[in-house]
């Protein structure tokens, strides 16, 4: 366990050195936050203030800014795709020599990365969003929000791990990773909050794991979780367990292939 904690700590420090890139990414998040929250406000204004499927303006604006903050934390755009590059180059063999679990190692790296992103790319958009009508969670919801955030990071890691592991078979996982990013942006509610989409599409997207990384977190944050708070957290937990489990199966099969290839 100490190994993983140390790996996470070093990953945190490593990502903390990319200051210019992080600042630029944060700037982009803020610009998109302004653009999207303007659209959302305009929609509500032109509805005469009527809420959408039970989501009022505050809830939707909060979701938009939360989504911009989460973009970096759940790493949708897959900045520094180390594992898939190591699989492509064959360096992953070195990882397999180590007396630690492959998935566990990269999960620790991702935890360190996410921790850094929370500080620099999550908190600022959320605070700026307050000026545009977003809100903070109620104090009583705070513990649930922390759990939801953590589960969102786990689900996101599991998704990216699976995409990278497809490289054990495809050798080049970049196509899969790009496709994942596209579906993810829509399915998580980052392009638009899911309640704005047609109800049928929204219902389908809510059944997929992507919603667990942003939309469900936002539902917990704004107190719009339905049917209930435990149910939403349960869905997130179920996806986390299922996808991490799938990652373990894929890893067991995939690494066996590496051994065969390496001779």
């Amino acid at each position: 366990m100490r190994t993983y904690v140390e790996v996470a700590r070093r990953a945190f420090r490593r990502f903390a050195t990319y200051r210019g890139a992080t600042g630029a990414a944060l700037f982009t998040n803020l610009v998109w936050g302004v653009l999207l929250s303007t659209v959302v406000s305009a929609v509500i204004r032109n509805r005469g203030g009527a809420s959408i499927d039970g989501y009022d303006e505050t809830a939707l604006i909060t979701q938009v800014w939360l989504a911009q903050g989460m973009l970096g934390v759940v790493n949708v755009s897959n900045r520094s795709p180390d594992l898939s590059e190591r699989i492509r180059s064959g360096d992953v063999v070195v990882d397999l020599y180590r007396p630690v679990d492959l998935q566990g190692w990269w999960a620790a790296v991702d935890a360190g990365r996410a921790g850094f992103e929370v500080l620099v790319r999550f908190i600022p958009p959320v605070l700026v969003g307050l000026a545009f009508g977003a809100r903070l969670p109620r104090l009583i919801d705070a513990p649930a929000v922390l759990v939801a955030l953590a589960l969102a990071v786990v689900v996101s890691f599991a998704l990216r791990f699976l995409a990278a592991a497809s490289g054990f078979w495809l050798l080049d996982a970049r196509g899969v990773e790009r496709a994942l990013m596209t579906v993810w942006l829509v399915g998580a509610g980052m392009t638009l909050p899911l309640p704005l989409l047609p109800n049928g599409l929204e219902a389908v997207l809510r059944l997929l794991p992507f919603a667990a990384t942003v939309q469900l977190v936002s539902d917990v944050w704004t107190g719009t979780a339905r049917p209930s708070l435990p149910a939403v957290l349960g869905v997130q937990l179920a996806w986390a367990v299922a996808l991490v489990g799938a990652g373990r199966v894929v890893q067991a099969r995939g690494t066996r292939r590496v051994v065969v290839q390496g001779g």
């Binding site: 998109w32 303007t38 305009a42 929609v43 032109n46 509805r47």
Partner: protein, 277 residues
Amino acid sequence: MAEETTAVRAGIGPARLYGRLVGAEVRSTAEYPASFLIGVLTSGALMMLDLVAVLAVFGNVDALAGWTLTDALVLYGMAQTSFALADLFVGHLDDLPAWIRSGRLDTLLLRPRRVLFQVLAGDVDLRSLGKLLQGVVVLVVALAGAGVEWTPARVALLAVALPAGAVIYASVWVVTTSITFWLVDSREVSAAFTYGGRQFATYPLGIYGEWVRHLARLVVPLAFTAYYPTVGLLGREDPLGAPAALAWAGPGVALAAVLVAAVVWRTGVRSYRSVGA
């Protein structure tokens, strides 16, 4: 001087040289037709997501800032087409930070052509044609759906507005990419203005606050890429009360944008110091 003599000796003007370099790109792309086709289709399909977003937004309202869905689709088509044109010609500026990091830019500085010319003529990504195709299709369908009464003036407006809009986007691209001469990687900042600019221009100007509207008219002139020409094409009163003549302001604004972009780019190249050892 050196520039002129070499060009004369080689007997090739910039236009012909550009044609040759793009021609080479076309031929190399044609070597892998399947890969090219997939690239075109994916880039077009990705743009469809934006369209779905616009449709979804209008699924919740009858009109946005006085614009109905049919009118807003023309706006989307104009924004998307002029953006895609710019993307085709200058989108590969996004690679500049990588060129600087790898030291490849130094090679360009040694050659007897302008750096910007070499970057732009170098790696045209023909898959961007997919975005252009998507924009044109949406624009044609939207124009038909909006029931535009075509007069010679409106045809001329359309013919002028699209390239002018593209030049404005291209200038924004050049200016924001120039940041990379001072900071390490400009891609994210640049994307906020180029891709973000297209997202901005997709919606009616009236939804934005007063100061954002002024920014879009005077500082980053995105209001002239789609909004004002579309108001002119549809032949309606601007809900914000702008004079009808603004529809024709595109070329003038584009010219001013190019001048600014040229100055910023040159300043950037002058202050460039190689990262190389």
